[in-house]
Amino acid sequence: MKLIFAGILAGLLTTTAAKAEDMVFTSWGGTTQEAQTKSWAEPFTAASGIKVLQDGPTDYGKLKAMVDAGNVSWDVVDVEMDFAIKAAKDGLLEPIDFTAVPKADLDPRFTTDHAVGSFYYSFVLAWNKGAVSGEPAGWADMFDLKKFPGKRTFYKWSAPGVVEIALLADGVPADKLYPLDLDRAFKKLDTIKSDIVWWSGGAESQQLIASGEAAFGQLWNGRVFALEKDGADVGASWSQNLTAADVLVVPKGAKNKEAAMKFLAAASSAAGQAKFAEASGYAPINTKAKAEMPADAVKALPDAHVDGQINLDMNYWAEHRDEIAERWYAWQAK
């Protein structure tokens, strides 16, 4: 009898011990999270013995609820960078322990005290070659209904990108974008509003362009990369491509902070970043990663198109997130 109890007790202890070493990684699902699992989590588990459980999709409301309730079940979360900056200000994130995460090779554009880059991407102009005659040369063509008739698709949510595109198309020089002139941007967007189809997720943007439902649109470069890989008849213009980033954060009060920091070190390492970039077409945030990638994979990255590339201002967005969102959704609902 005693033996059985001891056995059960030992069993309980070992399961709790094993659980304490597991950690939870949360991202957006789909091909992106698959690539993150293969490139980061699996090699990390093999090297450290720490199991990485996958959860998702990322939900900012859930993250806040967990932190507020003091019961945080996510250890590392992939979030948009402007959210990370704001969340850090609101006290929702743990500071990064840079003694555990080597900082020297990380792209400073996508590294903050509370976040390490996950990957960066560009918004590019993509089109369905069967549905568009000629080649759109830049954002201004998306607002030219005479030269390029047809539906155009843009990102639905209030986020860095569409407002800037409207301003660029209206002739605002790249270095004068910020502070954003929202009135001017909405006026420009009004001229094509009835021809806009909104996409709310990456898969939807691919479906719209591949089917010709929308003739052209503003897409994440990784999604265009995947379409091209699948043999879809799409074209893309990198003129004035707009960079933004996803970053990895640790929610305040995460239960496995130490494991989380170790995971961040692995994910942001040159090897982890190179593997992920090759699989996804998104750009590495570790400056040494490209050296570890095959040459043709490097060619597909936003890094190959730095000419005329514009960095969306994450700090500006973090600061004005709420007021822009209010204007954005009010304009959409009109």
């Binding site: 900012y60 409301g61 189809v197 909104w198 959704y329 959409q332 609902a333």
Partner: protein
């Protein structure tokens, strides 16, 4: 059995009836009433104590439009659902039982398929390059694709399809309970089929229509996935707006206030309907 014993049986049953309600009451209390109170509390305390969330919601043109959209969509969906469901329910009510149970099975089967899958299927059918538009254009009936998606039409089609079983089921019950002899009697008295429908069948089936209609209306008010995928941004409904406030803007005070208003309006409608149907019963209409 004397009147006394009958009464004592009735009183004996009462506590038992309450007792069997207890688990449900506890469940609703813990998982509905308490959270709703917490919601209410949040709506008047975040980000600062006061009613500013409510004044922001009620005083702003955008939010007013979203409220209006929500009720418009729910009303249109309810009306169309009634119109489509009634003939189906009538057919089911008068069908041989064996055949009716097969048709029932088909209707219920549609409820077992994942909602998201069904909504995506509608996207494939309704879009500009979708099956319906292609077929119509190939047959020369139209030369420009019809705008069937990203607007009220798309939302209505998608939601009516999902709501149909919730309308058909209560309606069949009501229709089956109607004595077919009443219709025969009407015909014998010289009523045309339409008169028989309008003056006998329709009034008698009103409780079923009201019950199903209320269920469809209330469910439609809180609908999220279908309007988000098949509607346009100008048809945004309240549930989608609340999700935005909670999930991406983290404005929980405003989101809670919006959710609470929706709840109050829904309950008010329910009370109104109880009263109307009750009144009709009292005057002998149904």
């Amino acid at each position: 059995m004397s009147v006394e014993t009958q009464r004592s049986i009735a009183t004996m049953r009462m506590p038992g009836g309450l007792g069997s309600l207890l688990p449900a009451l506890i469940l609703i209390g813990l998982f509905f009433v308490v959270p709703v109170l917490a919601l209410l509390l949040r709506s008047v305390t975040e980000p600062a104590p006061g009613l500013q969330n409510y004044s922001a919601l009620l005083g702003d043109g955008t939010y007013a439009r979203v409220f209006f959209n929500t009720f418009l969509v729910a009303a249109v969906v309810t009306i169309v659902t009634v119109l489509v469901a009634f003939p189906v329910a009538w057919m089911l009510a008068i069908m041989p039982p064996a055949l009716a149970s097969i048709v029932f099975g088909v209707i219920i089967l549609s409820m077992w398929t994942n909602l998201l899958t069904r909504t995506y299927a509608w996207m494939v059918l309704l879009q500009r390059t979708g099956v319906i538009n292609r077929a119509l254009m190939a047959s020369g009936i139209i030369d420009q694709p019809l705008p069937l998606i990203n607007n009220l039409t798309g939302v209505t089609i998608g939601m009516v399809y999902i709501m149909l079983p919730f309308m058909i089921l209560p309606l069949v019950g009501t229709l089956r309970a109607i004595d077919p002899m009443t219709l025969r009697a009407a015909a014998l008295c010289g009523a045309s089929p339409f008169q028989a429908f309008r003056r006998i069948l329709l009034p008698l089936s009103l409780p079923g229509i009201a019950a199903g209609g209320l269920m469809v209306f209330v469910m439609s008010l809180g609908y999220f996935v279908t309007p988000a995928l098949l509607g346009g941004t100008s048809n945004m409904m309240l549930a989608e707006m609340i999700a935005q406030m909670i999930q991406s803007l983290l404005n929980w005070g405003l989101g809670s206030a919006a959710a609470f208003i929706l709840l109050v309006v829904t309950m008010a409608l329910y009370a109104l309907q109880l009263r109307l149907v009750g009144a009709r019963r009292a005057t002998g209409g149904a």
